[in-house]
Symmetry: none
Subunit: 224 residues, 2 copies
């Protein structure tokens, strides 16, 4: 199931979620329409259809407020109340192997959609412009394949990296979100690439240190 939403669709989905959480019932098209300032209910209808097409919600035909969130599966056997932090990943080992689990974080994984399977500590600034900074904990859902544009956790041999995925035929490019880094190019005919999962969320516990995000490379901001 492809969960890649446009920003607008994400907003709509968030609104539906919040409405359900707060009102106890899903919103009507009209309620979405006024909440977003649309002038036509069709705008809301279209968005709902798109969300339904992408599988994140289900529409019950004919029923008023017939919007159902597809809670979506869960995976690794767990209390559902905490997530493992995956540390150093040994070559060859499955990423969720016992040995590589560093600790457990008490976070309700149902907060994320879809639900993640583990956390990974981000290293380096290569995804800076996607709001992913070093030290952040990336919530990752295990998936074997990726869609173009998704942010994935990929493994090449011993190296585990977080990048935006782009595939054209046999050529995969792992794109950083930072102009100071170069894309990684992989020819699947010649090299292996393992998709370990897809980024579905992020947790930053360390606060926001220095006056500027202390770039390791390059200037921030100025860019201009």
């Amino acid at each position: 199931m492809d969960f890649t939403l446009t920003p607008r669709q994400q907003q709509i989905l968030d609104f539906v979620r919040r409405h359900i959480a707060k009102q106890g019932i899903p919103p009507t098209r009209a309620e979405i329409t006024t909440a977003f300032g649309f002038r036509s209910v069709t705008a809301a209808e279209d968005h709902l259809r798109a969300l339904a097409r992408k599988g994140v919600i289900e529409l019950l035909p004919g029923a008023s407020r017939g919007i159902r969130l597809t809670g979506d599966e869960d995976a690794a056997a767990n209390d559902g109340d905490s997530l493992p932090l995956v540390g150093r990943v040994a070559a060859g080992n499955p990423i969720l192997a016992q040995e590589s689990v560093e600790s457990w974080y008490k976070i309700d994984r149902k907060l994320f959609h879809p639900q993640p399977d583990f956390l990974l500590r981000v290293q380096g600034w290569s995804m800076r412009d996607a709001g992913i900074l070093p030290g952040d904990l990336l919530a990752v859902k295990r998936v074997p394949t990726a869609q173009n544009g998704e942010i994935v956790v990929a493994r090449m041999g011993e190296d585990v990296t977080v990048k935006r995925f782009e595939r054209r035929g046999d050529i995969v490019r792992l794109l950083p979100a930072n102009p100071d880094f170069a894309p990684i190019r992989i020819d699947l005919a010649q090299q292996d690439l393992v998709i370990e999962g897809r980024a579905v969320g992020l947790l930053r516990t360390g606060g926001f240190a220095g006056p500027s995000p202390a770039p390791l490379h390059a200037d921030m901001s100025s860019a201009a």
Copy 2:
């Protein structure tokens, strides 16, 4: 509040509960009617009224499926391992006022240092370069004052904003982390500025949408 229900009323309530749990939305009068084999929707209506009168449910007038369970789920709240999400903040109101709490997120607040008091949904791209994107939930600790360089939640009248704090004498500057936005300059001798708290962490549940973080302004560098 009198919670003593007749057996029949208990059945109705159970049905409503099950319907919500299973379908995701509350039932209509008609659905209750057919489920119980009534021949008149008024039977269902009467039962709902009785349940509302006894306080176990709440009826939203005019809204279809406007049945809300008042089953004190909020008990799960302030146990120290969940955080309130603060929504729209009305002028003058304390930011943690009951009305502005949109929902509770099950996150162990001890994950953060220092421990936050609430979550705030981020709007706009002004803190992009600090890795704070729209839709993110900012974990905030209530503090009345700030140190230079800290990222704070500040309020000026009705506007609540997240910015980096910098003070020189009576002049406070609220610095965005995005060259497309201008700093806000406040002369404390002339204007009020309320520090609502300090950002101590961040939670992103919405995933990572578009191929690029969909800038509202300006280029996101990568574009190319």
